[in-house]
C-alpha cells in the first residue's frame, strides 16, 4: 500500500506545482492590455462554449473555452468587437480600451425562422483561421432535429453522420473514427471517461440529450490537452443549469420518458440541473405473445446532476455527476451494467490572462450477470473498471500572438476483469478469479498557439505521457507460441513496468484569403488501456486491460491536410480533408480467442500494424431555414498481424471505402420543421466460407481469407416532422410533437449473414440474412416550462 500511497502523494504534488511557477505572472510588466470575460446565453445564463470574439481592426480574435471564458490581448485603443455564436444574435460594440477590462457578454438566441438575418458569419470565419483541424462541434439544438431510432435523440448517432465517422453495427452506438477501433475513442462526460457509452446492447447511448449542452469531436489533430486514445476525443459537456429562473423540460417517447429541472440556487450565483431518463421497454414485453419474452425485466435509466457556484469574479466551482444502468433479467438469470462518473472542478483566474481549472474525477464501469440462487447452475459474475483522476489545466493568454496551454493529468486505474462463482449452499462451482491489475497513467502537456503575421497561425506542443503498472499484480509469461510458461507475482505497491512516450502535436493554418485557409497537422498519440472485444456490436461484457510486460502501448501517428472555405453570406462552410494514419503495436485477437474470464488473456492477443487513409468532403449550412450538412468520405483501413490471416494484410472490419451522409432540416414555419437524413456506406468486409466438410452429421465451413467478401451496401433514409404548439404570451408551457420514421423506405440492410444447414434437407447448406430494423415509426411529445 505504501508505494501506491506515495505515488498518489506525488500526483498531488505535481498537481499543485504550477501554482508556484505562475504566481509571479501578475507582476510582470505588460506590454498589452487584456480584455476578458465570459460569454453566456442571455435567457438561461448557460455558458457558451466556442463563442467567437472578433476584432475588426486587427482582423483577429479568439474563441471562448469550455467554461465560456475568453481573453484577448490588445494595445490601448478603440476597437470594433463582434461577439457571436451560432444560433445567437451577435453583439457588436465599439470599445475604448484604456485599462485591463472585464466584460461578460450575454447573447440572445435567435429565432431561425423569423430572422433570415444579418449574421455576418464571424463565427464561421474564425473557425477557418484557427490552427485546429479535423474537429466538429455539434450543438444540442441541431442534434435534436435529426431523426432518430425510436425517436430517441442521440448524441453518438449524430456523430456517426459526420465524415470520417462510421457506426460499427446497425443501430449501434459503437463507432469507428478514420478506421480506428471503437476503443480508440476517448469519450468524456464533463471530463470523466465513459468506458461503455451504450445502453440496450448498443442501440442507445448513455447521453440524455436534455442534459447535454454540446459535443465536440476531434478525429485527428487531437490537442495536447487530451491523451490516452489513438483515434478520437468526444468531449460531451452537460448543461450548467439555468441561473436565471426555474425551468424544466422533458419528453414522453415511444420507449422512454425524460424530465429535466434546472434553476438558480441563488440567482446569478449558483444553479443546478437534474435530469432523469428511463425506458419502459419491459412494459411492452408484457404484451408479447412469446412466453420467453413476456416475463422479463428490461430497462435502463440515466441520471445526470450538475451544480455550479460562482464564488467571486475569479473563482467558480462545478460539480457534475452521472449514473446510468441497464437491467435485464428474469427468474432464470440477470444481467446488469452501468457507468458512474463524478467530476468536481474549480475554475480559477490568476489574473485576466491566466485561466486555470482543477478537476477531481471519478469514473466507473461495471457489470454483473448470473443465474439467481435457487435455479440450476446458479452463479454470479462481476467485473469492473475504476478510475480516480486529478487534473489541472492552464491557459495563459500571453501576448496578442501567443496563447499557451499547459497542464497535468494523473489517473489511477483499477482493472477487475472478472470474477465468477457459484452461489447457493449446494453449488458445485468453484470461484474463478482473473487477477486485478492496477496502473497509474499520467501526462503533462504544453502547447502554444501562435499568430505569425496576418496569414499564418501555428499550434505546437507536446504531451509527455507515462504509464506505470503497479502491484499487486500477477503477470503470466508466455513463450513464442503464446503458451503460458509461468507467472510472476509483484507485491503491493511495486512499480513493475513503466512506459514513457513523447507525443508531439503540431498544426498550422495558412489563410489564403479572408474566407479560406489551408491547414496541416501531425499528431502522435499513445494508448495504454485497451478493450478486449472482438465483436462489432455493443455488448456490455467489456474487459479493459492495461499495457504491461506483455502488451506494449499502441502508438498512432496521423498526418492531415485540409482546405477550408466559408461563404459567410450564404452561411455555408466547405472543407476537404485528407489523412494518413499509422497505428504501431495494433492489437488483435487470435482465432477463436477466449476473452471472458480468461486469466491468460495476454496469450490471446496478437500484435501487428494497422493503417488507414482517406479523403473527407463536407458542405455544411450553419444557419437559416434550411440547415444541415452533406458529407462524403473515401477511406481505406487495413491491418497486418503475423499470426492472423497467414500474415497477409486484410481490410479491417471498419473498412468501408465509400460513405455518404446527408443531414437536412427545414423550418417551414415557426411551428413546423422537417428533418431527413440519408446514409450510404459500402458494405462491411466479412469472411465467408469457400468450402465445407462433414463431421458426424455436422456440416462445418472452410473459410476464405479474412474479410475477403463484403456485405451488400448499406443505405437508409430517416425522416421526421416536428410540430410545435402555438406560443402564447403568458404561457410558460410549450410543447411539441415529433414524429419520425427510421429506415423510411424499409431497406433490408443485413446485420449478419449466417451460413447454416437447411433444417429440412440434411445435405443442403444455405446463406441466410438477418436484418434488424424495417420501418420503425416513433412518436415523442417534448415539453418545456
Amino acid at each position: 500500500m505504501t508505494n501506491i500511497f506515495h505515488s498518489r502523494i506525488l500526483l498531488f504534488l505535481l498537481f499543485f506545482v504550477p501554482f508556484v511557477g505562475h504566481a509571479a505572472e501578475d507582476d510582470a510588466t505588460k506590454p498589452y492590455l487584456t480584455l476578458s470575460g465570459y460569454m453566456q446565453d442571455a435567457t438561461s445564463g448557460e455558458m457558451l462554449i466556442g463563442g467567437t470574439v472578433y476584432v475588426r481592426q486587427t482582423q483577429s480574435g479568439t474563441v471562448s473555452n469550455v467554461y465560456g471564458f475568453y481573453s484577448l490581448r490588445l494595445d490601448k485603443g478603440t476597437y470594433d468587437l463582434v461577439f457571436s455564436y451560432v444560433g445567437y444574435e451577435p453583439v457588436s460594440m465599439q470599445m475604448h480600451l484604456k485599462n485591463d477590462s472585464t466584460m461578460n457578454i450575454d447573447l440572445q438566441p435567435i429565432d431561425m425562422v423569423l430572422k433570415e438575418v444579418v449574421v455576418k458569419g464571424e463565427s464561421v470565419i474564425e473557425q477557418v483561421k484557427r490552427p485546429q483541424m479535423s474537429v466538429a462541434k455539434l450543438d444540442i439544438k441541431n442534434i435534436r432535429q435529426i431523426p432518430a431510432l425510436m425517436g430517441e435523440v442521440d448524441v453518438i448517432k449524430a456523430l456517426q453522420l459526420l465524415p470520417g465517422v462510421q457506426a460499427t453495427s446497425e443501430g449501434g452506438s459503437g463507432f469507428s473514427v478514420r478506421g480506428g477501433s471503437p476503443d480508440q475513442n476517448l469519450i468524456l462526460l464533463d471530463e470523466a471517461v465513459v468506458y461503455n457509452p451504450s445502453h440496450l446492447m448498443g442501440f442507445f447511448s448513455v447521453f440524455n440529450n436534455d442534459a447535454v449542452k454540446s459535443v465536440e469531436l476531434y478525429k485527428g489533430d487531437i490537442p495536447p490537452t487530451y491523451g490516452g486514445r489513438l483515434s478520437s476525443v468526444v468531449d460531451v459537456r452537460m448543461d450548467d443549469g439555468n441561473s436565471q429562473r426555474l425551468t424544466g423540460q422533458g419528453g414522453i417517447g415511444t420507449i422512454s420518458s425524460r424530465l429535466t429541472l434546472e434553476g438558480p440556487i441563488q440567482k446569478d450565483r449558483s444553479s443546478f440541473m437534474l435530469a432523469a431518463r428511463r425506458t419502459y421497454a419491459d412494459i411492452f414485453l408484457a404484451f408479447s405473445r412469446n412466453e420467453q419474452i413476456k416475463d422479463n425485466t428490461l430497462y435502463f435509466y440515466d441520471l445526470n446532476g450538475k451544480a455550479n457556484y460562482i464564488v467571486n469574479d475569479r473563482n467558480r466551482l462545478f460539480f457534475s455527476a452521472y449514473s446510468g444502468k441497464d437491467v435485464f433479467g428474469n427468474d432464470n438469470f440477470g444481467l446488469g451494467w452501468g457507468n458512474q462518473t463524478f467530476t468536481m472542478r474549480w475554475n480559477h483566474l490568476f489574473n485576466s490572462a491566466l485561466f486555470s481549472n482543477f478537476s477531481v474525477i471519478y469514473s466507473r464501469f461495471n457489470y454483473n450477470l448470473g443465474v439467481p440462487d435457487g435455479q440450476p447452475n446458479a452463479f454470479k459474475w462481476t467485473a469492473q473498471m475504476l478510475d480516480y483522476s486529478v487534473k489541472s489545466d492552464f491557459t495563459w493568454y500571453a501576448t496578442a500572438n501567443h496563447t499557451l496551454k499547459f497542464g497535468l493529468l494523473g489517473t489511477f486505474h483499477t482493472f477487475k476483469p472478472g470474477t465468477a462463482e457459484g452461489i447457493g449452499s449446494e453449488t458445485a462451482f468453484n470461484k474463478i478469479e482473473t487477477p486485478n491489475a492496477y496502473a497509474l497513467e499520467s501526462g503533462v502537456y504544453v502547447s502554444n498557439e501562435q499568430q505569425i503575421g496576418s496569414r499564418l497561425s501555428l499550434k505546437y506542443g507536446f504531451r509527455l505521457s507515462m504509464f506505470n503498472n503497479i502491484g499487486k499484480g500477477t503477470v503470466f509469461n508466455f513463450d513464442e507460441q503464446f503458451q503460458k510458461i509461468d507467472s510472476t507475482v509483484y507485491p503491493k505497491g511495486e512499480i513493475f513496468k513503466t512506459y514513457f512516450n513523447f507525443e508531439p502535436r503540431i498544426s498550422l493554418a495558412y489563410n489564403l484569403t479572408e474566407h479560406s485557409s489551408l491547414k496541416a497537422a501531425y499528431t502522435r498519440n499513445a494508448q495504454y488501456v485497451h478493450l478486449a472485444q472482438n465483436s462489432t456490436g455493443g455488448t456490455p461484457l467489456d474487459i479493459w486491460f492495461a499495457s504491461g510486460p506483455n502488451v506494449k502501448p499502441q502508438l498512432g501517428d496521423q498526418f492531415s491536410l485540409g482546405y477550408f472555405k466559408v461563404f459567410p453570406e450564404k452561411k455555408l462552410e466547405a472543407s476537404v480533408e485528407s489523412f494518413y494514419k499509422f497505428n504501431h503495436n495494433a492489437i488483435d485477437f487470435k482465432d477463436h480467442a477466449e476473452l471472458l474470464l480468461n486469466e491468460y488473456l495476454d496469450g490471446e492477443l496478437r500484435f501487428g500494424k494497422a493503417w488507414s487513409y482517406g479523403l473527407e468532403f463536407l458542405l455544411r449550412l450553419t444557419e437559416g431555414r434550411l440547415n444541415g450538412w452533406i458529407s462524403y468520405t473515401w477511406s481505406r483501413t487495413f491491418r497486418e498481424i503475423p499470426q492472423i490471416n497467414n500474415g497477409a494484410k486484410y481490410p479491417a472490419s471498419y473498412d468501408r471505402p465509400h460513405d455518404v451522409s446527408v443531414v437536412l432540416n427545414y423550418n417551414l414555419s415557426r411551428r413546423l420543421t422537417f428533418g431527413a437524413n440519408w446514409v450510404y456506406a459500402t458494405g462491411s468486409p466479412v469472411t465467408f466460407p469457400t468450402g465445407r466438410f462433414v463431421v458426424g452429421s455436422t456440416i462445418a465451413p472452410v473459410y476464405s481469407d479474412r474479410n475477403a467478401y463484403r456485405l451488400p451496401d448499406y443505405h437508409r433514409l430517416d425522416v421526421s416532422v416536428t410540430l410545435r404548439g402555438k406560443e402564447k404570451p403568458n404561457r410558460k408551457w410549450s410543447g411539441e410533437w415529433n414524429l419520425s420514421l427510421y429506415n423510411a423506405y424499409a431497406r433490408k440492410n443485413p446485420w449478419v449473414i449466417n451460413f447454416i444447414s437447411d433444417p429440412d434437407q440434411p445435405n443442403v447448406t444455405k446463406a441466410e440474412m438477418t436484418y434488424l430494423f424495417s420501418i420503425v415509426p416513433a412518436i415523442t411529445y417534448n415539453f418545456k416550462f
Partner: protein
C-alpha cells in the same frame, strides 16, 4: 464453462429476434481446394470403432461428402498396430476388429496412405491421446424449465483434481439425440474441478423430446484438450453467429497433418441411465 456463458447470449438473441427478420440470401462463393477430412474416435468400449475418410467440397455442394475409398489405414497405440478395414468397400468407413478397445493413457496414431493424392499428399497421419482421467459417474436427473420449455439433464459425478475436459452425449431409448455438434455438450472443469458436480445442467432437450416411459442415457467422455478445442470451434462455426458475440469467423483446427480437416479423437467413456416413469414425468411437468 462455456455453455453457461452461452445462456444469456441465447436470451439476447431471442430478444433481438423480436426486432429482426431473417430471409434466404443469394451469394456466389469461390471454391477452395479439396482436402482430406477425417472423422472418428477410439473409445474404451470393446466394440468396432469406425473412422470415416471423406473430402471437402465447395460450400453449396449439397450432397453427401465424397468418400475417400481404398486407403490403407493403420492404427498404432505405441505398443501394437491394427489394420482398419474399409467396410463396406467404397464407403470411406474404416473399422477396427469388434474386440478392439482403447486403453487410457495411451497415445494413438492413425497412419493413412491414399491411392490418389488429395492436396499434394498421399500420406497423412493424426495423433491423439486417450485421457486417463478418473471421473466417476453417479447419476442423472431431469428437470423441466417451464420458462424456456426445455428439459435439462442434471449431472451428478465426481471430477478428479486434475485438469480435465469432457464431452457429454444423450440418447433416449437408444437413439442418439446429440447428433450434431451444437447439441453435444462440452465442458472443461474450471468451475467444478475436484468437486461433486451436484446437479450441473448439461444437455438441453426440447419439450416434446421427452415422454413418459422413456429411458434416458447420458454418456460422459473424458477427452484431451485439443479435441475439446476442436469441438468448441466446431460448435462456434457451425451454429448461428451474431455480431454482438463471438469474434470473426476462423477456421476450425484439426489433428490431421498437411492441411487436413476434421478430427481423430480418443475418449474414455462412462454411461448412466434413468427411466422417466409416468409418475416422475407428471411431477416434473408440474
Amino acid at each position: 464453462m462455456k455453455t453457461k456463458i452461452l445462456f444469456p447470449v441465447l436470451f439476447i438473441v431471442v430478444l433481438l429476434g423480436s426486432w429482426s427478420c431473417t430471409e434466404d440470401y443469394n451469394v456466389t462463393l469461390d471454391d477452395s481446394f479439396t482436402r482430406l477430412v477425417i472423422d472418428g474416435s477410439i473409445t474404451t468400449d470393446t466394440t468396432t470403432h469406425t473412422i470415416r475418410l471423406s473430402s471437402s467440397t465447395s460450400y453449396f455442394y449439397n450432397e453427401m461428402p465424397p468418400a475417400v475409398s481404398g486407403a490403407n489405414v493403420l492404427l498404432d497405440d505405441g505398443i501394437s498396430q491394427v489394420q482398419l478395414q474399409e467396410n463396406p468397400v467404397g464407403s470411406g468407413f474404416y473399422s477396427t476388429p469388434s474386440d478392439y478397445f482403447g486403453v487410457p493413457g495411451r497415445t494413438y496414431q492413425l497412419q493413412i496412405s491414399l491411392q490418389e493424392p488429395i492436396g499434394s499428399s498421399t500420406n497423412y497421419n493424426a495423433l491423439t491421446s486417450l485421457p486417463a482421467t478418473t471421473f466417476k459417474l453417479d447419476s442423472i436427473q431431469l428437470e423441466y424449465q417451464s420458462a424456456f420449455e426445455f428439459w435439462s439433464i442434471k449431472l451428478f459425478a465426481w471430477d478428479p483434481p486434475t485438469t480435465d475436459f469432457y464431452r457429454l452425449d444423450a440418447s433416449i431409448n437408444g437413439v442418439l439425440l446429440t447428433d450434431t455438434a451444437f447439441r453435444t455438450a462440452i465442458s472443461d472443469d474450471r468451475f467444478f474441478n475436484g468437486n461433486y458436480t451436484n446437479g450441473l445442467s448439461t444437455i438441453w432437450l426440447r419439450k416434446e423430446e421427452v415422454q413418459a416411459g422413456d429411458t434416458i442415457e447420458l454418456m460422459m467422455s473424458a477427452i484431451d484438450k485439443n479435441y475439446y478445442d476442436f469441438l468448441f470451434e466446431l460448435q462456434n462455426e457451425s451454429g448461428f453467429n451474431n455480431p454482438l458475440f463471438g469474434g470473426p469467423p476462423a477456421n476450425i483446427s484439426s489433428n490431421l497433418n498437411d492441411g487436413g480437416l476434421g478430427y481423430f479423437s480418443a475418449r474414455k467413456t462412462g454411461r448412466v441411465q434413468m427411466i422417466v416413469t409416468p409418475e416422475l414425468y407428471d411431477s416434473l411437468r408440474k
